[in-house]
Amino acid sequence: MINFLCKQLYIIWSQLVTLWLVFTHIFKKADTVEYPDQMPYMFPRWRGRIILSRDPDGEERCVACNLCAVACPVDCIALQKTEDENGRWYPEFFRINFSRCIMCGFCEEACPTHAIQLTPDFEMAEYVRQDMVWEKEDMLISGTGKYHDYNFYKIAGKAIGGKGKGEARNELPPIDRRSLLP
């Protein structure tokens, strides 16, 4: 009985402490900021609006490998591969349905060429849902985004215009199978 009463008293005490603690918070500075009067600093790795970047030579980085599309948990990326006359792959179209996108960043993780990147821009509300469907033209930026030096085709063995066989990083010149040398 004493125990019970003690317990009850403790419960009441704890409620009062709670009230007091919460009350003290009224004198603390607000943690929130007055967006949009006061723009918050967004970290570079913030997962916001998706862009497609270009390599240091100014060419589209996307090689239409479809890995972002398959990594996407909400299946909101669709693209079609095509290639130029020199064998360079690029997307014929690249479409993201941002009304489905959950900004998880898996596409960026999956991208082998650093083409698709998430940016700190999070302000992408639209009045019409159809406007949330973005095509390549809407997403392609003129810069390299977060990764400045990477150039997939400079490393990959595939020959493209301006880079023949054996001219990629760490490659020997193409073998002449009729060579006199053993």
Binding site: N66, P112, G157
Partner: protein, 916 residues
């Protein structure tokens, strides 16, 4: 059976097989590259290493390659202990592998990717320079990216040793090793497309697919059957964004096994063609302006013709579509949409299959045969997959020799070395040199009638009760005797013939030989090639009726429904013209616009094989079911659905029509076994057409409307147009794209087979409609009709690329095809006074270019069939007169370089034989 222990687990294995194959049969994940179920072992890639222990006390063991090891009874092996070796082996293989998986067509279904992960080599330590290679242009079908090569030698073993190609080899040595041609140029083999599937990585890729590339997991696919010829290979078409992207092989033990021909693989471009009929059109009179009508109106107009119209069926439409037409117009008004000659020939094929004691040879049977006679059929061009099978059957002599010295059958290199260029006997009787001549023991060039007489004589020699032939020359009798001797000596003799030579006596003679080869319970093997995917299905639906196309044209009908058919390819142009102009109402259902369609008042857009579900009956009477791969635009429907009367219900499902056809066909009940039933589900769900990794569902159509539509429904049942359901691995008939955890490439197939390389767990797809006749031997009279010839005697020449109506409309095929031409002996060329760039005026037809071929008998002319510029149906049996064409200029589509023949340059090809 032997018991072995692998890592403590006990397996029952076949000691006659190699250890790798047996472990795979037990669904163990043992990496490999160079081994292929169809090509045996050579032990070159060092990936399937295992440890073999000498006895129970042996703790160290020794490393062996599983593919080169015969399992010993009671032996102990370890896969785990060799894991590190395999990882190192693949690491060295990968040192020069280019960093280009994202831009590789193989990525995502790459055996090398799978094996690299499986072997545990996940991090590249080598940072030295990579060796590189220049690529070759291998023509319109196959792309080449030599940097990716891991020198497993599968390509050259397939292309040269398996498919008999000669223009491809392995060159140089060590890290210079190069797989390619002597010079850049189109691969000549008709089976080059399989390189893309055989290559475990991305050296050889499907160039046609690459233009519209999608990853394997993004392709919506369904089990299907090739519609390009009468062989009925099982294929697996893949669709994305509403267009057909590619075709890959679908394993069927009994039919195509692991390989397809290039026509089947690359010939489906017409499905996406800009010439597709994609709206339904109607007009009041022949010369009025057509206007687009809704599907509902179109169907109403079509069904309004019921009772007044005759129906002309199609050998390239499904059994169901033909049946629906027959049900609509009635049996008496249903006519076969094949030429009158072909009508007779096909009826004859059915008669032989039903009434002669022969064994109808499937491709699997053909590959087992050890003595073959090819009668007047250019199989490479009319039924290519059979030609590939024949190339295997001539290797059986090597297997026999190997068996004699107890060499295991999987010792590929050893058996080849043992046999050298010895081949099982193959005789070819043909009107011109064919692509199989290089493996033939003897080739006889002569008219189809000549060949028939020789063949009748062979039958008589084999069985004296068969009718005899008189008047053969000594040389011909010598040939007859050697054929008969070889066929008689063989364990599995085979006769291959077909309808393409248009000679009825040839079929009779083939039947007589096959009958004569029968001995007790064993029956002679006979394979009769038919021209189109459903030629036999259509003829079986005729149910004995003699309604040929000629009869249809004389029937005086005022209304006609033409199902998937261009009548100008079936009958002389003048006859068709007068028939069509006599019609008041002509309805044409087809995929592509053609001359018959242009004359129609009502044109209905009908779905191709890729958009419809149905059944084809192949050359051996095997009914095979195919499923629509994707749903076309609303205006396009399957012919069967267009023709469905309300008596099949308002929303008829295809199995109702299949059931209707089953009531007519012999052994029709077997059609019900083709599917697990229209309302089949597994765990309450249908099978999915899409891979479980299918991407882009919520955005594919978002540019049109962000609000996603309901998933497409397949009213025919069994399969969903979605990812929902249990992957179609539970039933062979709905087995599409093979995939197993860790096995993303087509090599995962062994997980679904009873034993690696063997039958699918669920059995083989397809039901043979003809029972084997067990009656007494009966003979066809040795009568060969020969009309009096004036001018040149003509014979048809077929082309794999171009002769078939639909595939000829595919871009990839057109790159390998040519326009129409005639082929003449050089002597005749001189006699006609033809210069190098002159044309030939063909009687009843236009002027065409010519080709001089040494193998053609002087006085005869080979006339291309189906190629643009000539109508073979216009020819008469009374011979053809040829003249030099005036003011001739070769047409643009004349590309002689695409014509690959085996007799170029040889001065005389008469009886040309290779050393046996």
């Amino acid at each position: 059976m032997a018991k072995i222990t692998v890592d403590g687990k006990v397996f029952e294995v076949d000691p006659n097989n190699n250890l790798l194959q047996e472990l795979l049969s037990h669904k163990q994940d043992l990496p490999y590259f160079c081994w292929h179920p169809s090509m045996g072992s050579v032990g070159s890639c060092r990936q399937c290493a295992v440890i073999e222990y000498a006895n129970d006390d042996d703790q160290r063991g020794r490393q062996v390659m599983a593919c080169m090891t015969s399992p010993r009874e009671g032996a102990r092996y370890s896969m785990d202990k060799a894991h590190q070796f395999r990882a190192q082996a693949i690491e060295s293989i990968m040192t020069s592998h280019p960093h280009d998986c994202p831009v590789c067509e193989e990525g995502g279904e790459c055996h090398l990717q799978d094996m690299t992960v499986m072997s545990g080599h996940t991090y590249r330590r080598y940072d030295g320079k990579k060796s590189t290679h220049n690529n070759q242009n291998l023509g319109p079908f196959i792309g080449h990216e030599m940097n990716r090569c891991i020198t497993c030698y599968r390509c050259v073993r397939y292309y040269k040793d398996y498919a008999g190609g000669t223009d491809f080899s392995v060159q140089a040595s060590h890290n210079h090793t190069y797989f390619g041609r002597f010079q850049d140029g189109s691969l000549e083999s008709e089976f080059s497309g399989n390189l893309a599937e055989v290559c475990p990585t991305g050296v050889f890729t499907d160039k046609v697919f690459s233009k519209v590339y999608s990853r394997k997991w993004d392709l919506q696919s369904s089990p299907s059957v090739c519609a390009a010829c009468g062989v009925g290979c099982n294929i697996n078409p893949g669709e994305r964004y509403g267009t057909l992207r590619r075709v890959v092989n679908r394993f069927n033990d009994e039919v195509n096994g692991y390989f397809l021909c290039d026509k089947g693989r690359f010939g489906t471009g017409y499905v996406n063609s800009a010439q597709r009929i994609s709206v339904n059109m109607s007009r009041s009179a022949h010369d009025a302006r057509p206007s687009e009508i809704t599907p509902v109106d179109a169907k109403a107009k079509l069904l309004a013709m019921k009772g007044n119209a005759i129906g002309i069926g199609s050998p390239r439409a499904s059994l169901e579509a033909n049946y629906a037409l027959r049900a609509l117009v009635g049996k008496d008004n249903f006519y076969a949409g094949v030429s009158d000659v072909e009508f007779g020939l096909l009826n004859q094929v059915i008669d032989i299959y039903q009434n002669r004691p022969v064994h109808i040879a499937s491709i699997k049977d053909i590959e087992k045969c050890d003595a073959i006679l090819v009668l007047g059929e250019d199989v490479t061009n009319t039924a290519a997959r059979i030609a590939l099978a024949l190339r295997q059957s001539v290797k059986n002599i090597g297997k026999e020799m190997a068996a004699r010295i107890k060499l295991p059958m999987w010792q590929d290199a050893a058996i080849r070395t043992l046999a050298m260029d010895k081949k099982s006997p193959l005789y070819i009787l043909s009107s011109h040199a064919t692509r199989l001549d290089d493996i033939a023991r003897q080739v006889h060039i002569g008219s189809a009638a000549d060949s028939a007489r020789i063949a009748f004589a062979v039958a008589h020699v084999l069985d004296s009760s068969a009718p005899a032939v008189t008047g053969l020359s000594d040389a011909e009798m010598a040939l007859v005797n050697s054929i008969a001797t070889d066929l008689k000596a063989a364990k599995h003799p085979l006769v291959v013939s077909g309808t393409s030579s248009l000679e009825p006596a040839l079929l009779n003679a083939a039947a007589n030989i096959a009958t004569a080869l029968g001995n007790g319970d064993q029956r002679g093997n006979l394979a009769l090639c038919v021209p189109e995917a459903n030629s036999l299905g259509l003829m079986l639906l005729m149910d004995g009726s003699q309604n040929s196309l000629g009869k249809a044209m004389q029937s005086g009908a005022r209304q006609a429904i033409v199902l998937e058919n261009d009548l100008y390819r079936r009958a002389p142009s003048a006859t068709v013209d007068s028939f069509l102009s006599g019609l008041q109402q002509l309805a044409v259902l087809d995929h592509l616009q053609h001359r018959t369609g242009e004359a129609a008042n009502l044109v209905l857009a009908s779905g191709t094989f890729a958009e419809t579900t149905g059944t084809f009956v192949n050359y051996e009477g095997r009914a095979q079911h195919f499923y629509a791969t994707f749903k076309p635009v609303a205006a396009i429907q399957s012919s069967a659905k267009w023709l469905c009367d309300s008596e099949f219900g308002n929303e008829p499902r295809i199995h109702i029509l299949t059931g209707g056809a089953a009531a007519i066909l012999p052994n029709g009940y077997k059609l019900q076994k083709l599917t697990p039933g229209a309302d089949w589900t597994f765990a309450g769900q249908r099978a999915p057409r899409q891979h479980h990794r299918y991407s882009g569902r919520t955005v594919m159509r978002a540019h049109l409307n962000v609000h996603e539509p309901k998933q497409e429904q397949d009213e025919d049942g069994l399969m969903n147009y979605s990812m929902e359901g249990v992957p179609a691995t539970k039933d062979a008939t709905i087995f599409n794209s093979p995939w197993a955890p860790g096995w993303n490439s087509n090599q995962s197939l062994f997980k679904f087979q009873k034993s690696a390389g063997g039958e699918l767990k669920q059995g083989s797809h397809g039901e043979r409609l003809f029972d084997e006749n067990t009656g007494a031997k009966a003979w066809y009279a040795a009568v060969v009709q020969q009309a009096a010839i004036s001018g040149f005697a003509q014979f048809p020449i077929y082309h794999l690329f171009g002769s078939e109506e639909l595939t000829a409309q595919s871009e990839a095929i057109q790159a390998k095809a040519t326009g129409a031409y005639v082929a003449l002996n050089p002597a005749d060329v001189a006699r006609l006074g033809l210069g190098a760039s002159d044309g030939v005026q063909v009687q009843h037809n236009g002027a065409v270019p010519y080709l001089a071929r040494a193998s053609i008998t002087p006085g005869t002319v080979g006339i291309s069939v189906g190629l643009h510029g000539l109508n073979y149906q216009n020819m008469t049996t009374a011979g053809v007169s040829l003249n030099k064409a005036a003011n001739w200029q070769n047409p643009k589509d004349w590309r002689a370089s695409n014509i690959i023949v085996s007799d170029a340059g040889s001065s005389s090809a008469y009886g040309r034989g290779t050393q046996g």
